[in-house]
Assembly symmetry: C2
Homo-oligomer: 229 residues x 2
DNA sequence: GCAAAAGTGTTGGTTATACACCCATGT
DNA sequence: ACATGGGTGTATAACCAACACTTTTGC
């Protein structure tokens, strides 16, 4: 045991609640544990923080190692420091949440990692450790933050229709929005760019595609604009 | 060195930005460091997390040890994990912010602790480590959160006047509010209880005192109410 | 031609903002 | 009597919520 300290130190880990949006549902990515404790249980992806990497780096590294995901939107959530979180020893975990465009990543996450799968947030299996609690906090944060920061776009493909956008909000916020009012509001913010392009392969009138203009968003924020759904 | 581990572990600390409200200004509580590194520099109160205490417990313990403060409003802020935060070794810190009623605590903090002092947030000395950054994040959080959660009351005495309340918001948000509109709005929320009591020892008409009704607030929240200034 | 979703305005109610004077109290 | 802050109402503008029909497209 080459590393010794004068006082006992908690182990430090990162864990990550990764959200993705299916056609109809909000989903979260879980991995199945291969070792004790909680062997065979589903858990949030995560692992130990190396001494030479930042917390963000650790979260990104673990995500890639365990699920194959890269370049996701990642944000620190909360640090969980309960004394008996882990039955082996004291472990403090810095929790993150991530948002991914399922359309891009669906296949990868299912194949690259041995045992990773998406679950509907309303139908989760029992989770290892206190991961259920971490998940609840992450979901609450997502629900809160999506209303006043334009992070929801991270769940959609780069080009999306207004109906997809509206459905995303309806799914996360768990309430219906009025189509006309929604369109008025979101277009009025002047954050979406209408593309010269429409949906393909749909059995009805094809909707116009839009993209989110991040550069413009940041400019508006500097001028005091604040996003709100 | 009795504690050995297979892999190197970062040290884990807590640090705390304590805010108080003077008649005119928002202040933050700093302590002067007695040891290297940064000996003699001002810093946020904080210290190492013991292996048998939660993070919240560590923050409260350090606060009391270093500043004499007890029973403050405390909330986890963010965890800072930069690799070179501390010149000695890798230290990850879980930052908190606290709000105290200066009226109650002013003397204590100045006497119990050898070298603790309140500083105007707009006139801070150079701080040790990355404490300036932690402070900035804490202040931003306070400014953001005070608008949509009734945490500002933690900075005022239990009994306060509407003018004190308004000044608190004006100080934190750094903008003027309209007196009549402010009163209409805050009284309309039905969260304040008018006491049968007025200010004493003032050289003008004495203002009515109010208190915040926390029980009522929680009841309203359950019914979907959301606080906003 | 029919099924399915796209796209589009108006009205009424609520909420936010701007604004100024008289009142009570202590010195 | 004067200085200081306490306390109060109204009118206008902006925003939000409710609501239904026509258009386009693929089959």
């Amino acid at each position: 045991m080459p590393f010794s300290y004068e006082y006992a130190r908690p182990a430090l880990t990162v864990d990550c609640a990764v959200f993705g949006l299916d056609e109809q549902d909000l989903q979260v990515l879980l991995i199945r544990r291969g070792q004790e404790p909680y062997e065979g249980r589903w858990a949030l992806p995560g692992g130990f923080v190396h001494v030479d990497e930042t917390l963000d780096e650790a979260a990104l590294r673990e995500l890639e190692e365990e699920t194959g995901l890269r370049k996701v939107y990642l944000e620190q959530l909360y640090t969980f420091g309960g004394i008996d979180r882990d039955p082996r020893e004291r472990v403090v975990t810095v929790a993150y949440y991530a948002l991914v465009k399922l359309s891009d990543h669906k296949v990868k996450a299912a194949t690259d990692a041995a045992d990773a799968a998406w679950f509907d947030v309303n139908d989760l299996p029992e989770l290892a450790f206190d991961h259920r609690e971490i998940f609840e906090v992450a979901l609450a944060r997502l629900k809160g933050k999506v209303r006043y920061q334009p992070i929801g776009f991270e769940l959609l493909p780069r080009k999306f229709t207004l109906t997809q956008l509206q459905r995303m909000y309806e799914t996360i916020l768990e309430r219906k929005l009025d189509k006309r009012n929604f369109r008025k509001k979101i277009l009025g913010m002047d954050l979406l760019v209408a593309l010269d392009e429409v949906q393909k392969d749909v059995a009805h009138r094809a909707a116009r595609l839009y993209k989110f203009d991040d550069r413009r968003y940041r400019k508006l924020v500097k001028q005091g604009f604040s996003f709100e759904i």
